[in-house]
């Protein structure tokens, strides 16, 4: 039987990806350019017995999502830059309390209200460091409507597996663009549900880590496993502690669970296009990578050995592969719709192994292939 196909906006693809992943709760607040995610969720969730609520503000939306997740539901919110700024405190709460949830950020410019209907990629560092305190981050950055669907599914999987908030960042261009989507059949994409405790309720401790990279199982409010959750630093039993060794162990474990080699290998996802023999590699993500791919094809036709490296998982940063490419190529060009953010991560990894340049744009227009080719030829 032929697969179901539709012409869909990126934001609709996101919502339908969430439903496919088993999302049963959405708490949101209207904001351009992400509102269509909420609109589609309000229509689709009741059909599958899920719950949609439009909260009083962005903070309340994030709070409701964490509460819903503790009650056992895969939970989603969607917003844009100013909304993500407001949600930061509770994103940190979900980090330290280790509550799975997915946050969609349809990126526009900024700071502040910026250009609400224009695209931007200036929230990539916010996704890493937006909330206060030391913490790990997982963020993915799809480039197409189809990939928004599959990456939203993967974001839920990562959130449930690593028991933490996961951010999906895509810019307004992909969010509002319409493309052909081929829907995966039920069961075709892997769906991960959170691990349930196997011990008795009396023995259960919500942060009872078996190793310094472990993700302990999370019980559900309303089950026979009663437990306590707090945003304070806590011990294995979930209750506040100021004991230095316990605080340090938990802080380090919550980062190591994402950044240890095994987890990185599981979480990282990159696309490489013609990088094998490349002398210049363009580092681009999200919709900017589409212009970069076009530029690579044009330059290959001209005999320039160009390639594209596209991180789909932007956090954790693909350190190992970028380091290898830095040693291989003569130059690397970072393309992003901001005034230079990811380029500092690339610089941190490649150091002086190759020349490094950036193509940046923040005027509300997408970066075009011509700009990229001009920069590549300048640094070749």
């Amino acid at each position: 039987m032929a697969k179901k196909v539709a012409l869909l906006q990126g934001n609709s693809a996101c919502a339908l990806g969430a439903i496919y992943a088993g999302c049963k709760f959405f708490g949101g607040y209207p904001i351009t350019p992400s509102t269509e995610v909420a609109e589609v969720m309000s229509e689709e969730l009741p059909k599958v017995g899920g719950k949609f609520i439009q909260m009083e503000d962005e903070i309340g939306a994030m709070a409701s999502v964490i509460g819903a997740s503790l009650a056992g539901s895969k939970s989603l919110t969607a917003t844009s830059g100013p909304g993500v700024s407001l949600k930061q405190e509770l994103i940190g709460y979900a980090c330290i309390a280790e509550v799975p949830c997915v946050i969609i950020n349809v990126m526009r410019g900024g700071p502040s209200t910026g250009m609400p209907t224009g695209p931007g990629q200036s929230d990539v560092m916010q996704a890493r460091w937006g909330t206060h305190g030391d913490h790990a981050a997982i963020a993915v950055c799809p480039e197409s409507c189809q990939e928004i669907f599959t990456e939203t599914v993967r974001a839920f999987n990562l959130a449930e597996k690593y028991r933490m908030p996961v951010q999906v960042l895509y810019d307004e261009i992909v969010g509002h663009m319409r493309e052909r989507i081929v829907f995966p059949e039920p069961g075709e994409l892997e769906i991960i549900d959170r691990a349930a405790p196997t011990c008795s309720p009396e023995e259960y401790k919500p942060y009872d880590a078996k190793s310094d990279t472990d993700v302990p199982p999370l019980a559900v409010f309303g089950s026979e496993y009663r437990f306590h959750v707090t945003g304070l630093n806590k011990a294995a039993d979930g209750f506040p502690t100021t004991k230095a060794n316990l605080v340090a162990f938990e802080e380090r474990r919550q980062i190591a669970k994402v950044e240890c080699p095994e987890a990185r290998a599981d979480i990282e996802s990159n696309e490489e296009y013609l990088t094998e023999d490349a002398e210049v590699v363009i580092f681009a993500y999200g919709s900017s990578a589409r212009s970069a791919r076009y530029a690579v094809n044009k330059m290959r036709a001209e005999g320039i050995k160009a390639g594209l490296f596209r991180p789909i998982t932007i956090w954790p940063f693909p350190e190992k592969r970028v380091a290898e490419l830095g040693k291989q190529v003569n130059s690397m060009v970072v393309v992003e719709m901001n005034l230079g953010q990811m380029i500092f991560e690339v610089e941190r990894i490649v150091k002086n192994d190759c020349k490094l340049a950036g193509v940046f744009r923040v005027d509300g227009d997408p970066i075009n292939p011509g700009e990229i080719m001009a920069k590549v030829k300048e640094v070749l």
Partner: protein, 271 residues
């Protein structure tokens, strides 16, 4: 035989952090008796709080407990109740937590008339941070950030809850210990958003700065200012000057939020 509070308390979690003379312990005991009266099952009950002295209450209680961020209790609780309408959800916290930083979540939970019981311990001060003035610090009184007397007018929490749409609103004080559990129990049994405001004292941060020489003086003041609604009906405006109405201030039956959403799902699914 003495009432057994310990069956509701988590083993090993006492003593609590509250100062001698603080009213929060009296409220916690009232809450325990009320939950007991209502026959709440531990596994099927969640207690949610924000940040502050009063918000430490859930940690002592042997239920599903969630100590959230400052002001956010009602919004976290809304997520729990939406997913698990069959659970009893109780929020607790202080006046600053609930009506300043959390004011928006508080009024909108009232507006939705979502079935939860919010016990708000109003000690008219930010106690945990050392006694700054809250939206409930009486005008003219002293706090660490109002050294010349508080210039701000106050929120009347119960009136705020009624105005915002809560369908059960009651008030008492920590002096009226036995009324606390009766009102909370009535709030728990009420289907919809119930707000129980309990005036209680913070001798450390409020009393000390405002010339209350002893906790007993503060308790006597609570006794003196409280007027039951029935008695108030027979009093003149002059007699009621400076008094605080206690008892059930407002009660009405109105569609409950999660019930309405369940009906919406049934309608969409064509049931």
């Amino acid at each position: 035989m003495a009432y057994d509070y310990e069956k509701s308390i988590r083993p090993g979690k006492l003593p609590h952090i509250w100062c001698p003379g603080c009213g929060h312990g009296i409220v916690m005991k009232g809450l325990i008796r009320a939950m007991d009266t209502c026959g709440l099952e531990k596994n099927n009950t969640a207690i949610v709080s924000g940040i502050g002295c009063a918000s430490r209450l859930p940690g002592y209680m042997d239920f599903n407990t969630l100590h959230t961020a400052h002001g956010r209790a009602a919004a976290f609780a809304t997520g729990i109740k939406m997913v698990k309408p069959e659970m009893t959800v109780i929020c607790c916290g202080g006046d600053g937590d609930g009506t300043a930083i959390g004011g928006n979540h508080f009024i909108h939970a009232c507006r939705r008339n979502i079935d939860m019981t919010y016990v708000i311990m109003n000690n008219y001060i930010y106690g945990m941070t050392g006694g700054q003035f809250s939206p409930c610090t009486p005008t003219g009184m002293k706090a660490s950030t109002t050294p010349y007397g508080n210039p701000d007018p106050i929120f009347d929490i119960s009136k705020l809850a009624i105005g915002a749409g809560a369908t059960f609103v009651a008030r008492t004080t920590s002096f009226h210990a036995t009324q606390i559990d009766k009102l909370i129990a009535e709030g728990i049994k009420h289907k919809g958003m119930s707000v129980i405001e309990v005036l209680d004292d913070c001798p450390t941060s409020y009393g000390r700065r405002n010339k209350f020489r002893s906790v007993v003086d503060m308790m006597k003041r609570l006794k003196e200012v409280a007027v039951p609604v029935a008695a108030a009906a027979k009093m003149t405006d002059e007699q009621l000057e400076g008094k605080v109405l206690t008892g059930v201030l407002f009660k009405e039956e109105r569609a409950e939020y999660t019930d309405q959403y369940a009906k919406l799902i049934a309608r969409v699914q064509g049931a």
